[in-house]
Structures are given as C-alpha cells and as structure tokens.
Amino acid sequence: MASVAAAELPFVRVPRRRLRLGTVGVTGLLLLGVLAGAAVLAPWIVPYDPETISGAPFERPSARHLLGANDIGQDILSELIYGARISLTMGALAALVAISIGTVVGIMAGYFGGWVDIALMRLVDIVLVIPFLPLMILLAAYLGPSFWTIVIVIGVLVWARPARILRAQVLSLRSVEYIEAARALGASAVRVLRRHVLPAVLTLSLAQFILAASNAILIEASLSFLGLGDPTTKSWGSILYYAQVRSAFLSGAWVWWVLPPGLLITLATLGFAFTGFALEVVLNPRLRR
C-alpha cells in the first residue's frame, strides 16, 4: 500500500520553501553515498568473507564478531556490508527495468493520444490490478528465484505508476509552443519525440527512477521474507529471512540479527525516497510553476 506520489495529483503544488527540500535531497544523497560507499568498498572493509564459516553457529556478539554469527557461523556484519551491494544493485536494476518500460509507455500514450493512449492506460490499469504475489511465484518457479528473476519481476510490476506520471508530463508538453511548432512544421513523430519530448521527460524519469528504486528495495525485502526471494543471495531481505526462520526472536538474537538489516533497508529506502522526492520537485516544471 505505497502512497501515491504527490506528482500524480494535478492539484498538488509544492510549497515555495525550496530550501527545505534541498536539505531533504542532501540528506538522501548522503545516506545513499554512505551505503553505496560501503557497498563498493565491501571487500576491503569487511572483517570476514561473508561466505566462509568464521565463527560458531549462532555465536553471540563479541569483539571478534561485532554482530555475532548467523545460523551456520558466518559473520553477520560482513553479510550486511556485502548485502548493501546486492540490495542496492537489485533496487537500481529493477528500477531501471521499470523506468525503461514506464518511460516508453508514458511517452507513447501521452504523445500519440487517442486509441494508443486508451489502450496503454487500460494496460496500466490492468497491471495495477494484478495481484503480484502469485505472479512472482509463477515466474520464480519457471526461472528459479534468482537475482535476475527478482529484478525483472519487480521491474515488470512497478512500471505502471511512472508510466502514468510521465504520460501526464508529456500531455502538458504537447501543448508547449515549440513542440506544437515542430509538429506543425511537419517534423516526424520520431524526430519530435527524440529531439523535444524525450529530453524534457528524462529529468522526471530520473526522479521516478529513484522513487522506483526505493520501492524495489522494499519489495525485494518483502518477497525474501515470504520465502519467495532467492535465499542463496545475501541481500538484506534474505538475511532477515534466515533470522526469522532460525528463531532469532526466541533466543534474543533479534537485537543483532533482525534490527540491523531492517534499519539498513529503511535507511536505503529513505535515502532513495529523499533524493527522488527532492529531484522531482526541482526537475518537474509543472511542480515548479
């Protein structure tokens, strides 16, 4: 039940105090920077290789293992740092898939209008209606619940919302003078789209991309928790899955095994959301009015 992005509602305008949103954006970028930095530097900053058995199963936190060890004795802190790689990459890739589809559909619908628009928007409605849980199981069952399956499934499920928003943007562009002029002068649709519409929409796509990434990280975590993700990939979601199924709550291990990955998911989502939110306001001309 994600909330609807503010930009979807035509009557919403943003307060004039742009400065505040700048702070939000900076906070977001900072969060993302730290997490991405950890992800990139993972091999150099982890205390142990997260795949090797470096402690006893269910070892409690100590100087050797700051966050203890998991159910087969792998260092949890190292898992979390490597998890940043998996979760951020997964979120970004899934968002990329979603935005690519969303941008194409949104532009086509907005620009061509008429039957194309109706057909594509009905498709959007349908996608928004499909209960995605069974779809996920279906695809996971056929393709195996691998990293890429999840990327593609999330991408395919998340594109509809950005498509709607981009369509609205294109609609408002269509009546902009220079585009009308270009059309009147007989420029081909492809040319108008490429030269005028796409550049004007790309910035908004970027904001939508970042919002979709924040969404994707949350979805991945939920899927992993339900046991529908790939438990052999060390994402934050799958760390939580193991903590849950190996009874971390009963042994008190949840304090070091459940809290940290959950907080990291929240922070990453927040980082993306803040950044996307700020970008959207800065970049969306309709909101800037």
């Binding site: 159910d71 069952a141 691998s146 046991g227 438990p231 199924v245 009963l250």
Partner: protein
C-alpha cells in the same frame, strides 16, 4: 558442549484397570499444528503426520502402532491367523459404540474395507489390494482373506485403516462426495466438537470410550502455519506443545525454560542428496562416490543440526531401525574424493577450477532445494562449497515444493521420468518403518519402485526386493534387507546426509504423561488413552 541429551522415552504405566464411562482426568491441552486438516475425517485429513494421528483420535483402527511401531490389537480382542497366513479371523471387543450411540459391529468393518477400495483413497487403496474378501459371519467376528501372505498386514493395513460407520457413509457414493463430506462421527476417544476454518479444532473426550478413561478432557489444535510463530507461542505459553520437531537452535533455549520438558529420540525421517541416475555423468558410480566422499556429513550435522541428528548411513536405514545392517558406515574423506576423480579421468583441463569429464563435459550440476526448508537450503550451500573444493561446480536453485516435485517426481509418478541433476530431498518416517521400504525406494520397475525417484536400476536389488515383499519371517526379512543395504551402500543411488532427531517440547503443567513413539514423536493416541485390555 551442547549438553547432555535428554532422553525421555516415556512409557505408559499400565497400572489400574480402566473402567468404561469414567470421567476423564480433566485439563485442556493445546497442540499447534501446521496445516488445515479438513474436517479430520478419513477422507479430508491431509498430512500423514500429524493429520493421520489426529484422525485416529476420532476414528479407531483394528490395530494401532505401539511406541516401537509394532502393531498391537485395538478394536480387536482376539486374532487367529491360519497356518498358510491367508485367513485372518478377528474378534472385536464387545460394547463398542459410535459417537452417536449406535453399536460398532463387524458389519461396519466389512463395509469399511470394501468402501476404501471402491471410493479411492490414496493411502488405503494399495494396502487393501491384497484382500480377496472380507466377511462378517456374526456381529463380533470379521474374516479377512488374503491373496498372498503379507508380513506387513497388521501394521500397514489393520493398524492404518480407520473403521467407518456404515449407517453414515453408506450414502456417500463418489470420491468427490467423500472428500467433501464433513461428518465426523467415529468411535475414537475424541469427538470433533468445533472446527473454526483455518483457525483451530476443538476435540472433546468421549466419555463412553470402550477402552477406558480418556486422560485429557479437551484437545485444542490451533493451526499455526509458520514454524517460528508456533515455537514462539509455545515458549510464551499460548500452546502446550506442537506437531513440529523442535529446531536445533531452540533445544537449549527450551531446556532452560521453566516448566518446559524437552523429549528426544532417534528420527526416521531422512535428509539426502538425491542423484538423477539417468544423468549422463551422474550414472558413473565413481563420480557419485567422489561426491559422497567430498561431503563432510559429520561437520554438516554439527553446523546445521548443532549435533541433533545422526550422520547418514549409506545403506539408507537408520542405525536405530530394526532393519539396519550393522557395520554399514561411511565417513567423508576429501583426499579420497580427489583421488577417485583424478583416477577416473575427471581433470580440470582448461584451468577454470572445474573438472571436465574425459569427453570434455564440465562437471557442473544444478542442485535443487525446497524454499520452505531453510535447513535444506543451507545444506545445499554447504554441498556447493565442499564440491567446489574438489573441482565440481554446483549451482543451487531454490524453488517452492510443488515446483521442485514437478522436476524431481512429476505427478508423483516415477514412470513419468525426471528432470534434474541433484536434489536435496528426504522421506518421512514411515519410509523407514515399513519392511518393504527398500523395495519401494530402489526397485527398477516404476510400478513397484514407486518412490525410486532417481531412476536407479539393479537387477539384484529387484530380485531381493520382490523376495522381501512376500517374506513373512522377521529374521529372513532382516537378512534380505541387510543384503540390499550393502548393495545400496556400494552403489550410492542416493547419499543419505543425516537423520534429524525427533525433538519435541511440551509444558509439563498442561499434561505430563506423553508417550513417545519411536521415530515419530508424542502425538500418538497412546498419549491420551491406554490400550484396551483383552
């Protein structure tokens, strides 16, 4: 390190003579179960364990498995078997009544055995196939006529098929109707008082039970799908015990919880690495042997099960099973694995860390694991690590149970072939306790070897298995089983990784006289009622 094993095989003290009609001792026991078991009648319950066990609290069988899984007479007072083993004459206890007050007679028994053969039931159709006739010469007497002698008749047939009330089931004439039939009038120690769909069952003691006093007044069975939630609820005192085995990491935790008792015994369910023996590479015995040597099952038991399991024996049978052939053991040896691979010509020719077969095919396999079983997934990861160490590439693929079955055992019919390389698999306890298990597991004829999912073929095993099925003498059975185990241990159609111990926990304050059924646990009818006196 991890403590002294608490061994608690509690046997019922058979002291007082129970009196029918006596009021139950009182108390309510709440037992968390994992799945919806329909209405708990013989056509709607779902799982072999604990579904069957609870169904048999409501319905009685002619015999019942005792704590050692030996059949003991239940509805039956006396049994005579003809010298040729083909005619079984059973005399029922007098004064057995259905929950609705009508008498249970031999006519109901005759009706039942006819019914389960006519109205297909997957569990009982095969076990009643050997019957040529069932007769009810008088209300107390039933005569079973068999086509061929059957050593497992008392356990697999008489102690398994619940007797149905004819006056109720007569009107139900199709499989679909039977599966949708909600009536639960039985003769057992409990009657179904309330079913809250998807939430819980409430069973109340049958005060008129023929065998005597029912020890717990009320059983409440909440359905808790998630294992962790069930254990949390047990620890918090919201339930008194559960049908699930305690996860290894919880044993120590529960042992130090006040008021909680942990019981432990050998478990007959297996966790194994299943080979596809039709795979062009895996059909090579040397490769299978190398794989087996490379997997450190001892370490696996320590890491995954924290020691609460028995390391797998290569002949399939658990060392605590009466059929176990002593001396069949196996220990991992990485250097030996490497030596076998080198000798057989599996070498890494292109330097990518993965060996190739002499014909150039890389030793890369896909290993399937069930996404609902985290221990098997972790096990698969360990297998992957250890096989990589000897130059065999493994790609672990996790999928939900139904999808995995579709690849390993399509339509649950081994005649339909298989589409996998390696799989983390396992069989439940009954596959260990029935004497014919080895035949079911390894017979090459897909109609006979109904669970030979690897497609193993060996004529000697087929012959021995066929002989085993018609052998009645226990000593001879054991001999045959031992020979089969030796062959299996040599040829490794499967590699048994470990047998998880049966560990259960319960709140002593709620109820304390549980009976532990070997290899299965405490959810047996014997926990709530003593066997009938002759």
């Amino acid at each position: 390190m991890r403590g002294i094993a608490i061994l608690a095989i509690i046997l019922v003290a058979l002291a007082s003579t129970p009196v029918a009609g006596q009021a139950p001792a009182g108390g309510v026991v709440r037992i968390a179960i994992g799945v919806d078991e329909g209405t708990l009648n013989p056509y709607t319950y779902r799982t072999g364990y604990p579904g069957w066990n609870f169904m048999t609290m409501v319905y009685d069988t002619l015999y019942y498995p005792d704590p050692n899984n030996e059949p003991i007479p239940w509805l039956v007072r006396e049994t005579r078997v003809s010298p040729d083993g083909l005619t079984w004459t059973l005399t029922l206890h007098p004064n057995i009544t259905w929950h609705d007050g009508r008498p249970l007679t031999s006519d109901d028994v005759r009706f039942t055995f006819d019914y389960v053969r006519r109205i297909t039931h997957s569990r009982w159709t095969p076990t009643t196939r050997n019957l040529s006739a069932v007769e009810a010469p008088n209300p107390q007497t039933v005569v079973f006529r068999l086509m061929v002698p059957d050593a497992g008749f008392a356990l697999r047939t008489l102690a398994d098929v619940p007797v149905l009330p004819r006056h109720i089931w007569e009107a139900v004439t199709t499989v679909a109707a039977a599966r949708a039939f909600t009536n639960t009038v039985g003769s057992g120690p409990y009657r179904v008082e309330e079913i809250r769909g998807g939430q819980f069952y409430r069973l109340t003691a049958n005060s008129q039970y023929f065998a005597g006093r029912v020890k717990v007044r009320e059983l409440i069975l909440p359905i808790v799908r998630d294992a962790t939630v069930a254990f949390t609820a047990l620890k918090a005192g919201e339930v008194d015990t559960g049908s699930r085995l305690l996860s290894p990491e919880l044993v120590a935790e529960f042992e130090k919880t006040p008021g909680m008792k942990v019981v432990r015994g050998p478990g007959f369910a297996t966790t194994l690495l299943q080979f596809n023996l039709e795979h062009p590479l895996l059909r090579d015995l040397k490769l299978r042997r190398a794989i087996a040597y490379a997997i450190n099952t001892q370490l696996m038991v320590r890491l995954l099960m924290l020691g609460y399991a028995v390391v797998g024996a290569p002949g399939y049978m658990h060392p605590a099973s009466p059929f176990y052939a002593p001396g069949i053991r196996f220990s991992a040896d990485k250097t030996r694995a490497v030596a076998i691979l080198n000798e057989a010509g599996y070498r890494d020719r292109n330097g990518d860390g993965i060996r190739e077969a002499p014909d150039g095919t890389a030793l890369r396999f896909t290993l399937l694991a069930n996404s609902e079983n985290p221990i098997r997934i972790r096990g698969a990861e360990l297998v992957r690590t250890w096989l990589k160490d000897v130059g065999i590439g493994v790609d672990v693929r996790v999928m939900d149970d139904a999808s995995l079955i579709d690849l390993v055992w399509p339509d649950f019919d081994v005649c339909k072939g298989r589409r996998f390389d390696l799989a983390m698999f396992g069989w439940s306890a009954p596959v260990m306790t029935r004497p014919t298990a080895l035949r079911d597991l390894f017979h090459s004829n897909c109609q006979t070897g109904t669970i030979n999912i690897g497609g193993y073929k060996n004529q000697q095993i087929d012959r021995l298995g066929d002989q085993l099925a018609i052998t009645v003498l226990p000593e001879r059975q054991k001999q045959l089983a031992a020979t089969m185990q030796k062959i299996i241990a040599d040829e490794l159609p499967v590699h048994v990784l470990f047998y998880q111990d049966v560990i259960m926990a319960y709140r002593q304050a709620a109820y304390d006289t549980w009976v532990f059924q070997k290899g299965q646990g405490i959810l047996t009818k014997l926990s709530f009622v003593d066997p009938p006196k002759r």
